[in-house]
Amino acid sequence: MSNPYQSHDPRMNRVSLQVGSEAKHQEGSLMQWQTYEVFQQQKRGDQHVHVGSLHAPNPDMALILAKEQFGRREQCANLWVVKSQDVHATSYDDADMFQHAFDKSYREGDGYKVKDTIETFKRQLDDLLGSRDKAPGEVAVAVPVTSQGGWKVYELPATDKGERKILVKK
């Protein structure tokens, strides 16, 4: 059998590691760092979302390394790291427990009737605003006119920031 400490990496092979108690100690505490789960927050106030994991010897190092692994490709306001071993999970063997025996879609978040109202609202806004040519920076306020079941649109001058904003007032 080949030496268990032999790496396939040619650069690592230059190091002649001792097989013995000392080598084992190194293997345990230093050679293999633990993993940390990384959670990224895109903007202040947003939820932290799990984005992956990495190797690090302690939380300080995990944060430093996480910044370049996960904070560099997209917007990031904050990072959390948590030792992978501190995450407790359900077993996939028990995945059945998440299935409903009968239709319980009324329990699901998108099952509420308000969803239809929101969709209608969005569609009406699109009809009113979406098809028209708007100059960049144009600001419009859409106010519902409930008695007629429609929306009245008020246009405002462009902001000095040049942002395109649609304010919706109830």
């Binding site: 300080d60 190092m61 910044k67 370049e68």
Partner: protein
């Protein structure tokens, strides 16, 4: 104008050469995560050099690619510290720490520079440099306070790099003018501030300040006298560009 160009060439060339040097670790870093982090910072440094070259371009110098890839070693104004080979990871980390702390202190002053384009750029660069400092300080503290082997390697690297790092602050004949015009403090003042900061931090890392009483200066880089390590680096860095200098990318 000459004094401003002198400063910008020093800043830009330091960044280009340290960036290229540190990029030599790509694929060779101690662990994957650190390989990515170190390579990313090296890329930042090359990007910073380009930003400084663009300021030079605004002052009538050639375009950044030409400045970076067509000059000979004696036209470079980088300090000796950035030219030395990467050696082992301890050396590369210690150099990264010493260089980026000097950068941080300089940028702090450049943000208040009387030359507005430089002040604006310094503000932008200092955001990215914040991570470089955190990375460098974390590694210094972690390894300095780690095992005896790690501590000894870091101390050895510090003994080598510390005296050479004074070369960052090599004065030039424009140093005084730059200070008088409020563009940046004198190199002496910057070095004093830097030494106070790094020496107290080095002690907190369980490392000793190397003895520099018999210090042989590593000056010359700012006037075009370089170590023998620079020409081979330039040859490698410009290899692709030199195949067809007129090619458009």
């Amino acid at each position: 104008m000459q004094h401003l160009k002198d400063l910008l060439y020093r800043l830009a060339d330091d960044k280009l050469i340290i960036g290229h040097r540190n990029s030599e670790w790509i694929g060779m870093g101690p662990i994957l995560e650190e390989d990515i982090a170190f390579a990313s910072m090296a890329q930042d440094e090359v990007g910073h050099s380009q930003a400084y070259y663009l300021l030079l371009n605004d002052l009538g110098e050639d375009i950044p690619d030409k400045i970076a890839f067509t000059r000979s070693a004696q036209d470079f104004r980088c300090c000796h510290l950035v030219e030395y080979p990467i050696r082992d990871y301890a050396y590369s980390l210690v150099r990264h720490y010493l260089f980026d702390m000097a950068d941080a202190i300089r940028l702090k002053h450049l943000k208040k520079s009387s030359y507005k384009p430089l002040a604006e750029l310094a503000l932008k660069l200092s955001r990215e440099e914040r991570y470089h400092q955190l990375h460098a300080q974390t590694f210094m503290q972690q390894l300095g306070n780690s095992t005896e082997e790690a501590n000894l390697k870091m101390q050895g690297a510090l003994n080598e790099a510390y005296p050479v790092s004074f070369s960052i602050f090599e004065p030039t004949r424009h140093t005084e003018t730059l200070a008088v015009e409020g563009i940046q403090p004198t190199e002496d003042d910057l070095m004093k501030e830097w030494r106070a900061e790094v020496e107290s931090f080095i002690r907190s890392c369980n490392l000793l300040i190397p003895d520099t009483t018999d210090f042989v200066d590593h000056f010359g880089g700012r006037s075009g006298y370089h170590t023998d390590y620079l020409p081979p680096l330039l040859a490698e860095m410009t290899e692709v560009f030199a195949i067809d200098p007129e090619a458009t990318w």
